[in-house]
């Protein structure tokens, strides 16, 4: 039996560069970063003053008071982006479809804001009782569970937590489930909201956050910029999408994973290279078919040169013919939601025939000598794209997409 083909028929996103796909797309292709002075934390408490925060998000426009009480900001982002993707796909729910739909989401830390708030109450203010909703708000699957409740989806639902690769691992699993027939449809993606003082202090101690902005692949890069947000994709078989006359954004064709088995935080080129090769192989692609890579591209000294070496090792001479960009330069590093936000960016790039730029690029680095689409987006109808996520702990996950024409 030939493998079932899987297509993306709905997308949703909320991020520092837009609270809907329309807003996100406009900023993404205009190369407009959403990196601004941080508002969640008072100035002077952190070494890094800037962040990629979601702007103008009013939970009461999306949820009633009772719902807000049960949903941490990260889960709210997950639900809001899933609602947009579901509405965009035009799905008509039937009891059978509800039972045969999977929900797979990614989150690195779950309800960190709620946890921080509860612990501050307990440890600092000596109030010995913590909000009884702390557990349901904090659990990393809170977003996935809420989506299931809201739409009555009764198929398999779970959440993957693999640090910065969480969402790519989630989307990859969802894709495989639809491809192999374990589900007819999947709602997948991820969300993150991390602007609590306790968590940011931990990032400060890692010394990888930029004191100004995020300049991936640029010689004068000084680190990553933390972001928040969420994104969702609706995956279904090509057959089902065609049968209901759905709009198709792109085909998801391959998924590859690997682990470095090298170091808990230092990256290697070999692990990411093996994940890219695995995604290409899983999609029955030739490396020459890849025209664009949405890079992990965090903007740290170590990642960007290592990722460049990995891309060169996978693609050989073709590395000089493909384009690579890091959209983290605009929406920041959304940690466990990064893969989801970037999957939406890669999907839009294939759909529109425009490649998003690496913003804030100002100085070529011989160690990052790829075509990184500096600062301005580019019209290019590429056949296939990869989207890379590499996590602390050495866990790599790569998705492969094909343009739908």
């Amino acid at each position: 039996m030939p493998a079932r083909r899987v297509v993306v028929t709905g997308i949703g996103v909320i991020s520092a560069i837009g609270n809907s796909v329309a807003e996100f797309s406009e900023a993404l292709f205009a190369g407009q970063p959403g990196i601004r002075p941080m508002t969640a934390i008072a100035p002077g408490l952190l070494r890094f003053p800037n962040a990629a925060e979601v702007q103008g998000f009013d939970p009461s426009r999306h949820f009633d008071e009772k719902e807000i009480g049960l949903l941490d900001r990260f889960a709210q982002f997950g639900v809001v982006s899933a609602r947009e993707a579901i509405a965009d796909s035009g799905i008509e729910w039937t009891p059978q479809l509800r039972e045969r739909t999977a929900i797979v989401t990614g989150s690195c830390v779950g309800g960190k804001l709620t946890e921080d708030e509860g612990f501050e109450t307990l440890y600092r203010h000596n109030i010995t009782r913590v909000n009884p909703f702390t557990i349901p708000r904090t659990m990393a699957n809170a977003g996935a569970s809420r989506i299931s409740l809201e739409y009555g989806v009764t198929g398999p639902a779970w959440t993957v937590s693999t640090a910065c690769s969480s969402s790519n691992h989630a989307i990859g699993q969802a894709f495989w489930m639809v491809r192999n027939g374990s589900a007819e449809m999947a709602i997948t993606g991820g969300s993150e909201a991390v602007f609590s003082l306790g968590f940011l202090k931990a990032w400060e101690a890692m010394r990888v956050v930029s004191p100004d902005t995020c300049r991936p692949f640029s010689k004068n890069r000084r680190g990553l910029i933390l972001g928040e947000g969420g994104a969702a994709l609706i995956l279904e078989t090509l057959e089902a999408a065609r049968a209901r006359g759905a709009k198709i954004y792109a085909e998801i064709v391959g998924f590859g994973m690997s682990s470095d088995a090298h170091h808990i935080t230092q990256p290697t080129a070999e692990g990411p290279a093996r994940a890219m090769r695995a995604a290409i192989c899983d999609g029955h692609l030739q490396p020459e078919e890849i025209g664009y890579i949405n890079a992990h591209g965090t903007g740290t000294a170590a990642n960007d040169s290592t990722e460049t070496a990995a891309i060169r090792s996978v693609f050989g001479e073709h590395a000089d013919l493909l384009a690579v960009s890091s959209t983290k330069s605009m929406h920041g590093h959304v940690l466990g939601a990064a893969g989801a936000v970037e999957a939406v960016a890669a999907t839009l790039a294939l759909t529109k025939g425009i490649l998003p730029p690496t913003a804030n690029y100002s100085e070529p680095d011989p160690a990052c000598d790829l075509d990184v689409i500096p600062n301005e987006s580019r019209r290019a109808e590429v056949e296939c794209a990869l989207s890379n996520s590499f996590a602390f702990g050495g866990l790599n996950a790569v998705l492969a997409f094909r343009a739908w024409r």
Partner: protein, 91 residues
């Protein structure tokens, strides 16, 4: 010329953080020789900040590769201001 007492305290911090005997550490030791990787490095910086009650900026810390460079850097920060007579935290 590094301050002897400061040098000894810095070497002690490195020894304690890395779980190695302080006799093994000299001013000329490189981090590579001592098996100190980037993650160990930030852990040492964290311990030094607590020991001397100073704030070591990311940029200044980034290119340190030897004990001598670390001693020079910390000495500059310590003599530049903060009171170092006692550790900032009892630990």
């Amino acid at each position: 010329m590094p301050d002897d007492d400061l040098t000894r305290r810095i070497i002690d911090v490195i020894a304690k953080t890395q779980h190695i005997p302080s006799e093994k550490i000299t001013l000329d030791s490189t981090f590579q020789e001592l098996n100190i990787d980037s993650l160990d490095g930030i852990n040492i910086l964290f311990a030094l900040e607590s020991e001397f009650n100073v704030n070591i900026p990311d940029d200044a810390a980034q290119n340190i590769r030897t004990v001598r460079e670390m001693v020079d850097g910390v000495t500059r920060l310590v003599l530049g201001g903060a009171d170092t007579s006692a550790p900032a935290h009892a630990s």
